[in-house]
Every structure is written in structure tokens, then in C-alpha cells.
Subunit: 235 residues, 2 copies
């Protein structure tokens, strides 16, 4: 079953924006009468039927909104320093969307090699992964900000910072308790500086380990995301 995304989706006849029209008509070769699904990215999935297969402004009929399957009883947020190689950050966004994540924060810190991202490009990766994994809730990605600014923000839930160089051995999965809202900070290729870890601790972050393995930044972020989802699914 094909999936499209239309944030303003509601019951009735609607016109798809140009990019989504092109994807449905040119790439997926939908014709008049093709049935598919449309998510609004905010938890609802509609039945859709193609009415006018126009490659720039396709017209569709939407009905029967249902709640998506991708709801969980806690909030899962990851803050990550963008990787030097942009593909690796995009890979994390795709995989985290598949596995399930609520919010992504981006920050640059002392050892960051990348201090700029293209928000539109990252948004596209999230939407593509949302559609591919038939989810109804688009993860929210926040604008890049400095680490020092970021760690001072309020967050209702457990706050962790994954630190490699500090000899931390408390495993995230052993410290985190099922059902808790959670935010995990993942540092850049050169790790956090000791001053940054101290600042995070002053602001309520607990240092944790993601295990013995030495992981790349994007792998560490995904391991954190999957650990939290897994613990919440386990008996």
C-alpha cells in the first residue's frame, strides 16, 4: 500500500502539493481510482483515492481517518552533534524514524566538525522514512544550536549524556526505567569536552555508557534510540 504525506489532510477533496503529486503520479504511477493512504504526520492516517492524476496538482478524495499504530507512552528525544559526513546524520534520521523517535535536537559543540546543516534536506529524509515505514507521526527536528545554549533548556523527564572518555560504565539500559520521558545527548566524532560534560551535569544530565563497543556518532545515537524503544517493549 502506497503512502503519501499531507500535513493539512482532512476529510474531503484535496489537492496535493507539487512534489507529492509528482511522486504519486510519475514515480508510483497512480491513476484515477488508485487507492492509497495519506498521513498528516500528526497521528492520523486517511484512506485516499486518486481523483485527478495530475503530475503537479493531483486531486485526491480523503476519508476514514484512523489513529496510526506508532504511539508510545513515553517521549523519546535524542540530541546529536551533526556528523562530519552529512550522509551519516541522514542515515540516523532515517533509521530512528523507522524504529520510532519523537524529537531530534541538533547542536554544535567544542569538538564538532560540522556547524551547518540544511534543514529542508533533513526534513525530506524524515518524511521519506515516515512514508516508507507507514508511520503517522513525523518526528520533530529542531534547529541547530550551540551545546551551551541547548543544555540549559527545560525538559520534563530523564536527561542523559553518553560519554566515552570519562570511564563511565553505567549502561543507559540499566539506568533508564520503562515509561520515563527521556533525552539522550550524543557527542561529535571527538566526543564531548570535560567542560561540556560538567555543564551538562550541572543542568541535570546523568552520564551513561552505551556499552563497551566503540561506536561512531550516528551508531551511538541509533543504539540509544533502539535501547529505549526495546526496554519499553520488553516484559
Amino acid at each position: 500500500m502506497h503512502f503519501a504525506c499531507l500535513p493539512e489532510a482532512k476529510i474531503g477533496i484535496m489537492t496535493l502539493p507539487e512534489e507529492e503529486s509528482k511522486h504519486c503520479v510519475r514515480v508510483l504511477r497512480m491513476e484515477v481510482g488508485t487507492a492509497f493512504k495519506i498521513t498528516n504526520g500528526s497521528g492520523k492516517i486517511f484512506d485516499a483515492v486518486m481523483q485527478e492524476a495530475h503530475p503537479k496538482k493531483a486531486v485526491v478524495a480523503l476519508s476514514n481517518p484512523e489513529k496510526g499504530y506508532d504511539f508510545w507512552s513515553f517521549k523519546l528525544c535524542i540530541a546529536i552533534a551533526p556528523t562530519k559526513n552529512n550522509d551519516r546524520l541522514e542515515w540516523f534520521l532515517e533509521k530512528a524514524t523507522e524504529i520510532g523517535i519523537d524529537e531530534i535536537f541538533l547542536f554544535h559543540s567544542f569538538h564538532s566538525e560540522r556547524r551547518q546543516v540544511k534543514p529542508e534536506r533533513l526534513q525530506k529524509v524524515l518524511v521519506a522514512a515516515l512514508k516508507q515505514s507507514l508511520k503517522s507521526r513525523l518526528p520533530k527536528i529542531h534547529d541547530l544550536q550551540s551545546f551551551n545554549q541547548f543544555v540549559k533548556q527545560d525538559f520534563q523527564g530523564r536527561k542523559f549524556i553518553a560519554w566515552i572518555d570519562g570511564g563511565v560504565t553505567d549502561l543507559l539500559a540499566n539506568t533508564y526505567k520503562k515509561g520515563e520521558n527521556c533525552l539522550v545527548l550524543i557527542g561529535p566524532e571527538g566526543d564531548f569536552s570535560p567542560e561540556e560534560v560538567a555543564l551538562a551535569q550541572i543542568n541535570g544530565f546523568e552520564t551513561v555508557s552505551l556499552g563497551q563497543a566503540r561506536l561512531r556518532t550516528e551508531t551511538a545515537a541509533l543504539v540509544a534510540c533502539h535501547s529505549l524503544q526495546l526496554i519499553n517493549q520488553m516484559k
Copy 2:
């Protein structure tokens, strides 16, 4: 600390093969006297010092072999149907090596879209990930074979098949017990056929779910790998 891989490593003076020489001398710009590490890919890590920084046949002095940190008390094997897009399989191999895996089996099945792989290319991905994550044990990757042939092989441990379409709800992480040797089968983009699942069951495979999320083939394989490593690290 830089890392090189030399399967025949032993204490004394040795010459690196051409590719590894080029990497050390041209890419990493090692000079005479540069200290680094060499793994034999079988659990040992040596101290190395560059003696002749030749870009095709570098000469190094090896000493002080130590056991790597990447040993665990169970066997973790994943069998995966190569993905249509080769990059996705390679991505899985890189990430699984970082997280920790013992053996990878490749099979083609009824819904497989790819029936050929380049073993040398896959081996290179494993070696690069081994060096990057400072591991001492190179995962073993087996030649591509047919699903029907593969499922009849002996395996000492729990055998699972991750099945999406069968309505299976037993989570791998709830079924698997810490310390058990384990083999998990991950199907191609079009999933396993019911006949294939039946054949696997006759051969002792238990059907399991990897959770509610709809995952791509390579994501499912990584989720299985990480679930098993995590359970074995948790209290």
C-alpha cells in the same frame, strides 16, 4: 590511535600488504617511528612501530600482543537476504561490526531481488569497520546460498526467523535468554513466503517479531543484532 589489520600478524618484523601499506603511508601519513596498533582479526592486538614507510610494502615491528576487548560469552549470528540496494547491506555490515557480531550468513529466497554479491567488497567493509571501531575479531561472512539449503544447516543454539506477515507478536527480546548462542533470519524486502517460514520451522527455527515498527531489511537485521547484544549487557 591508528589501527591496521594483518591476519598473519606475529611478534617481530613484518611487511604489510600493498593496500594496508598505502593506507598507512599515503592516507594516514605514517612515518618511520610512528606507533600504532595492528589487529590480526582473530582476537589479538599488537603494538606496532613503522620501520620503513614504503607506500607499497611498509615494514613494521610488532610486539606485545594483547587480547582485544571485543569478546562475549555467546555466539551472535545473523542471516540476511541481501538488499536490492547494495549500500544498505554494506551499511548493515558496518554497523553490526561496530555493535558486535560473530557471523553473517547471506541467502537468497523466494522474494529476493538480489541474487549476487561481491564477497571481496563486503569483506573490505567489514575490515574497515573493524579498524574504525578498534575491534580485534573480524566477523565471519559466509558465501551466498539458497534459503532452502541454508535452513538445513546445523547450528548449536537458538534459531529464530523474524516474520512480519504472520501476525507473530513474540518479541525476540522476550524469547531469547541471556547467554544463549543465537541465529536470527531476516528476510528480503518482500518478506519470507509462508512456505519458507514453514520450512524454517520444520528445521527448528522459532518465529519472532522485532516489534511493532515496520523496518527495512537492513534495519531489522541491525535491530536484531543490537537487541541480542543489549540483553547480554543488561543486568
